[in-house]
């Protein structure tokens, strides 16, 4: 479809606006990360004397690299467990008629209705009982309370959209439900798995309250907690430059992750299967 020059200009303007709106605070964080001391209180588009020092300082003050590793470990394991459990669960909830299906779906949703603050004490007891205090599985386990319902619901919705004919054909060939899930549906669910996984990954990556409560030592902490613990020369002081540097360091791999996976989100390989 040919678009007029005006339409393209307008479209371009919209794209620029979106980019500005989304990126401005991040740009401001980068600018702040290059300031130190009193320069922090100046408002200027780019610091006069960029304090690149802030970046190495992030790693010198605390085991930040370990924290990043911990975050990667926790988020990956959480996503892996969630997706693994949800794929089978959502098949059951989306494609099989059985009694109690609707209440079950609602129950999964219900678990998401509890504020984290409220379950904290009970969760703390559970973690200590499992002997997971100050170890990273404590977070994987506790994060399931919000990732699992989400992944189950989203995958169920996507799985419902998959065509019945493929399933019927497989059943005709004598396939077991397990085969149907792994051989027939799983390949088609690429974009939805990636999308759901990515959102769950980011949610786990950013989680703060549980991570703060279930870890004690710097070696076990994840990135959001490590950033919130960055202190300065006194109990009150917040070295903004260093904090922003840490935030920038942490956001960049996530962007890389998204860039890497966004092709999968796009591929739209369902189209072929649907038409066929």
């Amino acid at each position: 479809m040919r678009r007029s020059v005006l339409q393209r200009a307008l479209f371009g303007a919209v794209v620029a606006l979106i980019a500005l709106y989304t990126l401005f605070p991040f740009y401001w964080a980068v600018v702040t990360s290059l300031k130190t001391g009193s320069a922090l209180f100046e408002v200027e588009p780019w610091p006069r004397a960029p304090a690149w020092r802030n970046y190495p300082q992030v790693f010198e003050q605390q085991p930040f690299f370990t924290s990043i590793l911990n975050s990667v470990l926790v988020a990956t394991s959480t996503v892996a467990v969630s997706l693994f459990l949800s794929v089978t669960a959502s098949y059951a909830l989306a494609r099989v008629r059985f009694r109690g299906r609707a209440p079950l779906l609602l129950m999964f949703l219900g678990v998401s209705m509890f504020p984290q603050i409220a379950v904290l004490s009970g969760m703390f007891e559970l973690i200590r009982w499992l002997g997971l205090y100050n170890r990273f599985p404590s977070m994987t386990v506790s994060y399931l309370i919000f990732t699992l319902p989400f992944t189950v619901w989203v995958l169920t919705t996507f799985m419902r959209e998959l065509p019945k004919e493929l399933e019927e054909a497989a059943v005709m060939d004598g396939a077991t439900p397990w085969t149907i899930v792994t051989r027939v549906f799983l390949p088609l669910m690429g974009p939805s798995l990636v999308t759901t996984g990515l959102l769950a990954f980011i949610a786990a990556w950013n989680e703060f309250l549980f991570a703060l409560t279930f870890t004690l030592t710097s070696e076990e902490r994840t990135v959001p907690v490590a950033i919130s613990l960055i202190g300065g020369g006194s109990a009150f002081e917040l070295p903004w430059g260093v904090i922003m540097a840490a935030s920038v360091i942490v956001t960049v791999p996530l962007i890389a992750l998204v860039l890497a996976f966004q092709r999968r989100i796009v591929s739209g390989l369902t189209a072929g299967a649907v038409k066929g």
Partner: protein, 294 residues
Amino acid sequence: MDARRRARSAWLFLAPSLAVLALVAGWPLLRTFWFSLTDADLGGMEETRFVGLENYRELFSDWLWWLSVWTTFRFAIISVLLETALGLGIAMVLHARFAGRGVLRAAVLIPWAIPTVVSARMWGWMFNDVYGVVNEILLKLGIIQDALAWTADPRLALPAVIAVDVWKTTPFMTLLILAALQTLPDDVYEAAQIDGARPLRVFFRITLPLIRGPLMVAVIFRMLDALRVFDVFYVLTSNSNETLPMAGYARRKMFELQELGAGAAAASTLFAIIALFTAVYLVAARVRVEPEAT
């Protein structure tokens, strides 16, 4: 034979998830319900006694609780409406083909990728009344005469919090809607084009109904998240009565005032309110928990 076997395998498939949830969600939730019926105090847990519905009675007669309910709902509804509208718009743009689409897609996700505690602080920094950049820009553009106290002034605090939350969570909606858009078959659009339908019409008559399912799921999860909001308010605002969401009220009871029992009652009531709201929403939007004909 088949139906029964299929039902059995369905339960088998669900068993691991249910077991995990029973442990990870069941225990903490039940514990909280239990606490809400006692006078548990964080300073001395040994003296906990059963007090029945006393905590709830006190809760419902507390005007601050009802204020926090009102604040939370105002926040949630406005936020989610804005996020959905923006998310739809941005998703449609990203769905089109243009140079640099991949980069914009990644850029759009950045707000979601930054930890909330960090982005709330960043925005707090930008909203600062004396040397924040928001005031600086508005003053330079002549839109305001005096610097505004965005996070401190009770009238401006809620809009400020909503602005930050919308900025942060629109990517969530965008991504889910985009994924839904990507799964739409092209032939419908082609047919519409041949018929010469106008883009707006195509959007409302064809696109929207087709992505209804995933859109409704996205909205409900966002709504649940918004009703449980805590971080943004806590970090950004002054902990005053006017900017206290329900979860903030529960936290104040539990950790600032040490009244674990009362806080648990507030949390349980929050849960009940959300459940009620969800039920109403599901019925009104006629979201089908059961698919039509399987």
